[in-house]
């Protein structure tokens, strides 16, 4: 694993992780557009999706530049196959119900925000700029998802049950997010990317506190599902891409 890194390929991989996370989660959230449980939620989740698409564009554009092979953000989004995607398995999970969607958002936001905050201090100016812009949006994402999982966890018996089962269902996918041994160590030593344990610690604190307020029980199991960051995905991603990339694949080279 480690041996494959050169300075720029390590950075490229990291930027793909950031961009692909945003892209795949945006895709999942956008599937709720027009189908949300309340009009206000429909608007909010579409809005979050929209923020994430914007962030995808920034990360993947930079990834393309770093790679230096002339690929645009659209090329990277639309013309890679699943094994070249670097998003977390958590984010490609099908939506199932709005509870699972919210819990996934919460677990991700709680990692995304400290990660971005760390990146605002990056020694790489471009990364710091993108992080700066994203932090504002993601601060709101985390506020909203935290508020909702607390209210639904401590809501009716049925909403409590659904939030607990979503948490149980998703827990094994969170470990992958908190590990950073896949990253090129030079990225951390050169202060391009914040140290993984700091981000993980911030995640743990936020999640533990929120779950307590939500009257939800943190699962015991420490089983970790991993693979997304190395391009070994679940079966779901293939279908996400088949749908997302349909036009670019069916009409190569067309301008839209």
């Amino acid at each position: 694993m480690v041996s494959k890194h050169t300075a720029s390929s390590g950075l490229f991989e990291f930027l793909l992780q950031m961009g692909d996370n945003c892209l795949v989660l945006a895709h999942r959230n956008s599937q709720w557009c027009g189908h949300g449980p309340a009009l206000e939620e429909d608007i909010a989740i579409s809005n979050i999706s929209l923020d994430l698409i914007g962030q995808t564009q920034l990360w993947l554009e930079l990834a393309g530049e770093v790679e230096g092979a002339g690929r645009s953000a659209d090329d990277l989004a639309y013309l890679r196959d699943a094994f070249d995607f670097r998003n977390l398995l958590l984010l490609e999970r099908p939506n199932e119900d709005f509870g699972l969607t919210l819990m996934r958002q919460f677990l991700f936001d709680a990692w995304h925000l400290p990660m971005l905050k760390g990146l605002t201090q990056s020694s790489n100016k471009r990364i710091a700029e993108i992080a700066e812009k994203s932090v504002k949006e993601v601060t709101y994402h985390l506020e909203r998802s935290t508020d909702l999982i607390i209210r639904l966890g401590d809501g009716s018996a049925e909403s409590h049950r659904r939030m607990q089962s979503s948490l149980d269902e998703l827990w094994s996918y969170t470990g992958e997010m908190l590990e950073s041994d896949d990253l090129d160590p030079a990225l951390i030593s050169e202060c391009v990317v914040p140290a993984g344990d700091k981000v993980a610690e911030a995640w743990r604190q936020h999640v533990t506190a929120a779950l307590k307020l939500a009257t939800l029980i943190k699962p015991e199991s420490d089983f970790v599902r991993r693979g997304g960051k190395n391009g070994i995905h679940s079966e779901h991603l293939g279908f996400v891409l088949a749908e997302m990339q349909f036009l670019q694949r069916a009409y190569p080279g067309a301008v839209w």
Partner: protein, 330 residues
Amino acid sequence: MYAQIVKTDGTGVKSREDMTPEESAFQQRIDADQKIEPKEWMPEGYRKNLIRQISQHAHSELVGQLPESNWITRAPTLERKAILLAKVQDEAGHGLYLYCAAETLGISRDEMFEQLHSGKAKYSSIFNYPTLTWADIGAVGWLVDGAAIMNQVPLQRTSYGPYARAMVRICKEESFHQRQGFDIMMKMASGSDAQKRMAQDAFDRFWYPSLMMFGPSDKDSVHSAQSMAWRIKINTNDELRQKFVDQTVPQAKYLGLTVPDENLIWNEEKGGHDFTEPDWDEFYAVLGGNGPCNKERLQARVTAWNEGEWFRDGLLANAAKKCTAGEVAA
């Protein structure tokens, strides 16, 4: 047109002599172009009519999300995806403003949803047509939002204050919607042969349904007179349809698309186009539930509502807990 057939109660417009003093004073204010506000006296017919019209409009915004959200996950570039998401999100926002405006007349959002879900309330027939290719997303923005603007710009001057103000906010966003649609069409119509084919095909399918958006022909539109006297309808259906055709034909020409009407011709004398009327049998069939997507559209709304019940109840339960906690603390 988002409220294509709003049935009015009673028969025709009351003459001044038949009006009570209250009604007469009310009509005078409308004639003087004054806005009517929620707490003020209004004839029962005016209130009922407005509720129907505004809720139909709100339902149209809501159901109108569906044909477009159908393509969000398949949008061909990240930028197109973002634009489409923003657009469909706007439509949900329009629904929200309009439900709020209707609520000021004494009906709740839940009641309006109930009417939509039971099939009692109508929404615009246009949203019962499918979006089959990406060019349909262009056609919807260009034609459907274009027709919406045509209808909604005059409604900014409608007599009911909250409705007029909702229209002002909505119109600001609609022109962006139409532009993005036209822009998609431009790319398609000047693109590859396959894209050109998609563009013409979309235009062919959406042309007549767009003309239907303005409602039946004036000669068959029995409910207009009272609505116009109350200034909750400003132009007749045929006036708006004519305006729409005259605006759209040159745009189609610019795009290099053919209007699917052999009888379309410029009439110098009237200063407008002569054109074939849409198939009104089809219109009434779609309105009555037998369009290509009526079942799917309504089902999508009902499913979203039913499957969201636990979510809404959960939030209510949480709010109730906080209230009791507050009482205990106090």
